[in-house]
Structure formats: C-alpha cells, structure tokens
Symmetry: C2
Subunit: 385 residues, 2 copies
C-alpha cells in the first residue's frame, strides 16, 4: 500500500530559532510541513518563516516538553541545549533527531574525540588535561592546542599554545590538549543519514578562516584537492556519521595535513555553515536534506550544479546595534551572486548576520567575485560601540 501523508504533513519542532532554523524552516515550509520553533527571542530569525514560535529557554525542561508535545519530530539548530529532558522525552517515545545520546557525545569535545578514536576514525593526537600546571602542557609537547570540553563554538574555547610564553592565555575550564596539526587545508563534508539508514554525501569543500575572529569566512565548493583525497575525506565523513548512528544532516570538519592525511577535527550535529552553498549550488539543499532525513523520507540528490563560493557576512568591528547593510546594490550586480540576510535584530562584531553565495563555472572567478563582494558589503549600524 502507498504511503499517505495528511495535511499539514508531519509537525516539525526545532529547538533554537537562529539562521540554521530559519533555513530549515524555509525548506520544510516549501514542502508543506508545519514548523514550530523554540527560542528565547520572539523575533529570532526563524520566527517569521514558521508556523509558531514558542518563547523559552533551551534549558527550560517545561518549554522543551511543550515543543515536543506539539511536534511529531523534534530537531535543533544548536548543540548547546539540555539533553537530560530530551532523553526523558525520547524514552517516552518522542522522536528526536539527532538523538540526545549522540548530542551528549558531541557536546563534550573530548568524549567526541574518544568515541571517534576508539572507532578507528583518524583524529589528531589528543589527551585530557588533568591539571592546568605548566608540566601538563610540557609533557604533551609544544606547540599544542588547548580546547574546552564544552561550550565552544566559532573559535571560542580554542587556544593555541606555542610554548611557555602562551601559558598566560590558557583557558581555565575543563579541557583537553590536541597536537598542533600542520594543516594544508581545512575541509568539510556534509553527510546526511535518514531514519531509514540511507546515506548521502555532499561534495568536499574548503573552509577558509578569518584569522582574527577564527570564524569560517569563506567556503569553496568543490575543494581544490585531488580525487583521491576527496574520496578519502568522504569515506571518513560517512564512517563518522555511521559510527555515531547519526540521523539528520551533519557537518564534518576535517584537516588535510601537509603530508596528505585526513583527520576529523569536529562534528556538527546539524546543517553546517560549510553547507550553505548547497541552497543554490546543489539539487537538494542541506536544509531540505535534513528535513527529509528526520522525517524518514528518501534523501535527495546532492549533485553540485555549478562550482560555488559562500562567504559569511559578519558584523563589522566597532558597531553594535540595529544592522545596516552597505553596498547591497553594488554586490547584487555581481553576476551569479545570491544574498541571504538572517534578520537578526542587532549586529555586533563578528556576529554572523548573513551570507552570500556566488555560482560560476570557474571556481577561481567565483573566489574573485566573493572577495570583491566582501569588500563591498559591510554590516554596520548607526550605533558605534
């Protein structure tokens, strides 16, 4: 017998209403789903593109229960949420993807590394930091990277320690040490795995970082690396998601070392900044793919239609207030450029306010156009900080 879907299809609850939830909601609404969002801000980016907003904290058990009860499938757009209540709800039979058990592993970056390492996934050398005494760093060896076990994102919670002179900057939180990898490129792969076990992989991309803010600045799709390295990167990314028994879309951040080894840096249990280019450049966007994966629908084609470059639009330094966009007309006249603005009510330095994607048959031209657009487009404010 054929499946019959009623209207308004499955109700999808998203914990977190930021730009990822906004783009998930837009994909889900396109397909006819009913979408609810839980966020502390009633005017969060997803608020105006979904059916209902529940205003509440991600650590408020009652609010998490409320969205679960109003939804048929629950997902999230951030990893810093309460897992205890999610586990209780899952035991009660609610569908939560990715699972709270997986989320707990992801939230603790040391545990994440341990799980991946134990499963034979290549990762940088790492060790729990049991004391903040200089000896603990020295015995691991300089240069090294200190990483907070919990709560880090967009470069926060990461400290490079080149030698004794950097020990004044160490993070005073539960953390672990990682070898300082000699990186040729930072790569990323978006992997989707559905509740039926189907797996699809997007093209391998290059991530270029803003060195000052340590935030992903630009993504180049496809990565300018050999086919062999691409195949290896994809195989590692898929294996990572399978080991974690992941359901949904995952962003797997990888290091390509100078000696051509692939190492897993970090796993994001959700659509990822490195996959925004898929909205314009692939047949199925990572956001639609996530919705298909968590609702048990067949996954869509991940085919790249044209090379693409994505660049984040970060709030300019020196401004903090309601955003202004400078240079929009000039940027939009660049052939092949698409503009996304998330609708955050306030800008602040380095805050992700939007992004652009440029499609061009020639990837080097796409990069040039992205650099030009980044120079034109500035997110400022009347309010100087």
């Amino acid at each position: 017998m054929k499946d019959k879907y009623g209207f308004p299809l499955t109700k999808i609850g998203i914990i977190g209403g930021g730009q990822l939830a906004k783009m998930m909601a837009q994909s889900a609404k396109r397909m006819g789903f009913f979408v609810l969002v839980l966020d502390p801000a009633p005017d969060c980016p997803a608020s105006s593109v979904c059916d209902r907003v529940l205003v509440g904290d991600f650590y408020d058990d009652n609010k998490i229960r409320e969205i679960a009860e109003a939804s048929e499938v629950i997902t999230y757009d951030i990893e810093h949420i309460a897992t205890r209540i999610l586990k209780i709800l899952m035991d009660e039979g609610y569908k939560i993807f990715p699972s709270p058990a997986l989320l707990e592993i992801i939230q603790d970056k040391f545990l994440q590394k341990q799980v991946l390492y134990a499963a034979g996934i290549p990762v940088p050398k790492f060790k729990l930091l049991e004391s903040l005494e200089p000896g603990s760093f020295k015995s691991f060896g300089f240069p090294c990277v200190q990483k907070a076990r919990k709560g880090g994102y967009d470069g926060r919670g990461v400290q490079v320690i080149r030698g004794y002179e950097d020990l004044k900057n160490i993070l005073k939180v539960e953390s672990y040490l990682e070898e300082y990898v000699d990186i040729e490129k930072e790569l990323a792969v978006i992997v989707a795995r559905s509740s039926k076990g189907e797996v699809k992989c997007y093209p391998v991309v290059e991530m270029i970082f803003d060195e000052q803010a340590n935030i992903c600045d630009m993504v180049i799709a496809p990565a300018r690396i050999s086919e062999d390295v691409k195949e290896e990167a994809k195989a590692v990314a898929v294996k990572t998601v399978e080991i974690l028994n992941g359901i949904g879309v995952f962003g797997i951040e990888l290091f390509l070392t100078k000696d051509k080894k692939i190492l897993v840096n970090e796993v994001a249990p959700r659509p990822h900044n490195s996959g925004h280019y898929t909205i314009e450049a692939c047949i199925t966007s990572q956001f639609e793919q996530h919705i298909r994966a968590i609702t048990g629908l067949p996954l869509g084609s991940t085919k790249l239609l044209m090379p693409a470059v994505m660049a984040n639009l970060l709030g300019e330094k020196g401004y903090e207030g309601p955003p202004l966009i400078e240079g929009l007309k000039e940027a939009l006249s660049i052939e092949g450029l698409s503009f996304h603005f998330y609708g955050k009510s306030m800008t602040k330095p380095f805050r992700k306010m939007g992004h652009i994607t440029i499609l061009d048959e020639n990837i080097e031209k796409a990069i040039e156009k992205a650099v030009k657009a980044k120079k034109l487009l500035k997110i400022t404010s009347e309010v100087r900080k």
Copy 2:
C-alpha cells in the same frame, strides 16, 4: 556614497496570499525583507512564511489602503483585484509594481490584445464580440475561440467554437473572438524588468496542458525548439514587457504556430506557473527576481543550471476536503526531484495544490521521471465528493 539599507530592509506588501505570494515571501525573507500579505483567508499559503497577515478582501478599499500604509512597496499575486484604489494610492505616492494602469490593461483581455497589437506585437487575429447572435461568430469564421474579457484564469473564460453545433456552449459574458490558431507548441518566457529599467529574460519553455482541465500540466525547460525560434520568442516577450512599461516579473504565454510564427497569447503581471522551475534550475528564481525588480535592486542571473521539468500537482477528481498526499515517498526517491506543497487547507478537483521539479542533464529523462512521479503522487482527501 554607497547605498545603505536598514533592517528590516524595505517592507514589501503582497496583495493575495496564494502559492505565488508564498514563494515570493520565501525569497524576500531569505534576503531579509519584511513581508506583509493581504488575503481573505488567515491560513492562506503565504501566511506561515511572512511577517504579518492582514485578513481582508481584495476589493476592500480600506484593507488595500491598510497594507499600502504598512508597506514601502506593494505588489500582488493575482490579477483580479481592485485597481481604482490602487490608482488613488499611486497618485498619493505609494509604490505599486506592476502599476495599476498596467494591471487594468491585463485584466481586460481584449484591451490587452488591442494594446499589444497596436504596438506591433504579433497576436492572433481577434475581434470584439458585439453580440451573442450566431451571425457574429459566423462572420468572424469557424473554428474560433471565444474569450471572456475579464475574470478568466486557468482555462476558465475560454470556449472553443468549432462550428454552429458549439454555439450552445458560448460564454454569456463580455467577450471577444480569436482565431483558432494551429499550434505546434505553447511556449512561455519569464521576463523581469526592474524599476531601474534593467531587463532580464529566462529561457524559453514549453507548456503542456491537461486537456481535460485546460490547466498547465507540465513545463519543459528549455523548450525543444530551434535557437532561431527561441531568440524570436525572447525578443517578442521582452518587447511586450517594455511596451507595457512593466516593472516586476511577467509570464508571457506564446503560441508557436505550425508555420513557425510566434504569437503572444496572454501576459501574466506576476511570477508565473511556467517559471516555477527557476527555483531549482536557475541561479536566481523568478520569485527572487520579482523582489529584486520591485525594490530597485540589480536583477540576478537567469542562467539555467540544468534542464528541468515542472509538473503541477492538481487535486484529484472526486475529492474535496483536507488534502492527503499519496505516493510521496515513492516520488521523492526519484533522483533529482524536488517537492513543493502549498499548504492549502482544502483540496478540490484540479486545484493547484503543489508542484514538483525534476532536474536531469537529459531533458527526455526528466520528462519520463515527471510522468512517473505524476502517476505516483495523488492529492486526495478522506472526503469524497
């Protein structure tokens, strides 16, 4: 000095909240605009993907004024709206695109034909029907097509008169007669023209009609016709929009006659069913293009990334009630298929409930896939009529 856009950019008011408004709103929200919609139904398709819904009739002057006052640019997703109040508002300085003067021409199909004919645009032979006596039809010549001057859409208001025997079926409304054109293919071109006068043209597509319902059933992009005919079709479409001084996106429906002539059939002053494929298949969708055009932004690239076929999902005969979707999983497992469901609360026979778009390098394969998907996907209801 560079342009500066504030948040939430320009406020866009859309009169009508159907599927076209929904897709316009989704494009506008992606770019960060504030979107209001006026519709009699509070749960109209656009309602859950925009910032604010005004509930009211399209012929209610007060409601039209209310949305105008709350917006910086006004547009519409249907042509059957009151133009008198729009003209008053325009005189008061409100920005309304396309203009009410253009809309009045479009609304009266006879006037539309007269204006195009007078400007040298090729159209089928036509004549006002001054009386419903058999002699008026005979003197024009059989076979002919009687068309209502106003209110027709999706095949309504059109009557083919092959001879005296069909005169019992004539429309008893103000109408005109058109020659019965010997058609090789029905074509369409989406043309965008911005408030700055910039013009961009999408690829020429083929429209395949459901003969029973006389509704566009399938769109094939690009059309399988010679380059010469494509160039001529585009030139006629662009000239049509320029003659009308159109601002926004327009769907120009064309006949390709058996003797390879291009004739303009009809103009839609808004994004058009024949351009839905642009969401997945072109760099800039017709909906984003409409938003760019009416807000004075530079137009985006209309490049076709891959051949595509769009098929409408119409309500099945025999059902009228809350919709059910049959065969969704089976259809979504077809490689390259994207699914759109508009979220209308009730299905009825031949109502446009959603559409699918299939991308495939090989257009004939895309057509095969679309035919297969149409057989799998059925919009029914628990309620039989």
